[in-house]
Amino acid sequence: MVLSSFKLVFHNKFYIFLASIIFTLFWITFNVLGELLFFTPVFVFYLPSDAIFVFVLSNVISALMGIVLSMNVYVLKNTKTKMNKSSFVGTTVGMTAGGCASCSTVGFVLLTSFGAAGVAASTFLSVYQIPLLISSIGLLLWSYYSIHNKLTKNCVLRETS
């Protein structure tokens, strides 16, 4: 069962706390970049109909990031194996696609600093935002599976004939 490693890690309350903090930070970041959450001049969260699907995907990514990064920390503290690279790739892809590329400050910097290349990059990020977010979820799920294998199969001896 892939949930055995989940139970192993989150049996410790420290990792529940860590995952909650990571989830919250990424949730805030995604929603600020997606222009759904505003702190000033008044604190307000709003969800227009055109943003619902991206909002759901970004919530899934935030939750997976909390779980996977906390499990990575567990692996680092308790084993001698290296941190999982796919979680970093998943995080990066998710963050890049998280905001509306052309409208956000990041997109504006791309457009104004890199000319035609910036337009191409910004257009790609904006047009393929949903596929990129789904890819990010796939990478994070793969990362979870890899960590699960590290935690549960380290001590399995292969039978030789």
Partner: protein, 228 residues
């Protein structure tokens, strides 16, 4: 044993930087100091912001003017046009408290400028806002060609603009300098994205600048503060 701590530290710093950037992105609203004689928007220059070519909705003598700097290709500008703007119009514009003006900030791609120029050609025939709504209600993907000149002419025809004068206006790039001037103004104000907004009182005092597709609640707070 130190390795997890170092990596944990790096991860924490990266997350902190990302969150700080996001919060900084959010805090793009400022009350501008227009008592500075070098300020781009002194009470004297206020009237220069709204010229006869500036599309304006509502009472021109309304105590507050909301100036949007937008791009017809920007999805968040579309979100503002479809969700927030109608609420502002119903609550503040129809009662004569606020007027809405539109200026061009065409930064998303090569088709943004033709779209901006085309909207000014529609304005020439008194149909800027109809053209504006038609574009935002049927917005395509950025730089996919949905606002190339041929499509812009078809959209103009669909909403009942005079084809001959619209096509002639668009083909002659009649409003290129106006669009360039708006773009320069947005850069001068140091706006960093679309949509951006200036909320101005009629006396030009304490203008508020915002960047982002802020929801109705934000504008409601700013308008009520200004009106009171």
């Amino acid at each position: 044993m130190k390795k997890p701590l170092i990596i944990g530290g790096i991860v924490s710093v990266v997350i902190a930087v990302i969150v700080a950037s996001a919060l900084n992105f959010d805090s793009a609203d400022t009350v501008m100091d227009n008592t500075d004689p070098d300020s781009f928007i002194s009470p004297l220059s206020f009237s220069n912001l709204i010229t006869s070519d500036t599309p304006l909705k509502g009472d021109p003598s309304a105590p507050i003017t909301l100036i949007e700097f937008g791009d017809f290709q920007c999805p968040n500008c579309g979100r503002f046009a479809r969700n927030t703007s109608p609420q502002i119009e119903a609550s503040y514009v129809e009662s004569g408290q606020v007027s809405i003006a539109f200026k061009h900030f065409p930064v998303v791609g090569p088709d943004s400028k033709p779209a901006a120029m085309a909207s000014q050609c529609a304005n020439e025939q008194g149909m800027f806002w109809e053209f504006h709504d038609e574009l935002y209600n049927n917005q395509g993907n950025e730089n996919s060609g949905w606002v190339n000149k041929d499509n812009l002419k078809q959209i103009a025809l669909n909403i009942g603009l005079d084809k001959q004068s619209f096509d002639s206006c668009l083909d002659s790039n009649k409003y290129e300098s106006l669009v360039e001037n708006d773009l320069s103004l947005a850069k001068q104000i140091k706006f960093t994205g679309t949509p951006s907004f200036l909320v101005l009182k009629s006396d030009g005092s304490k203008p508020v600048a915002l960047t982002g597709a802020y929801p109705y609640a934000t504008f409601q707070k700013i308008f009520d503060d200004s009106l009171n």
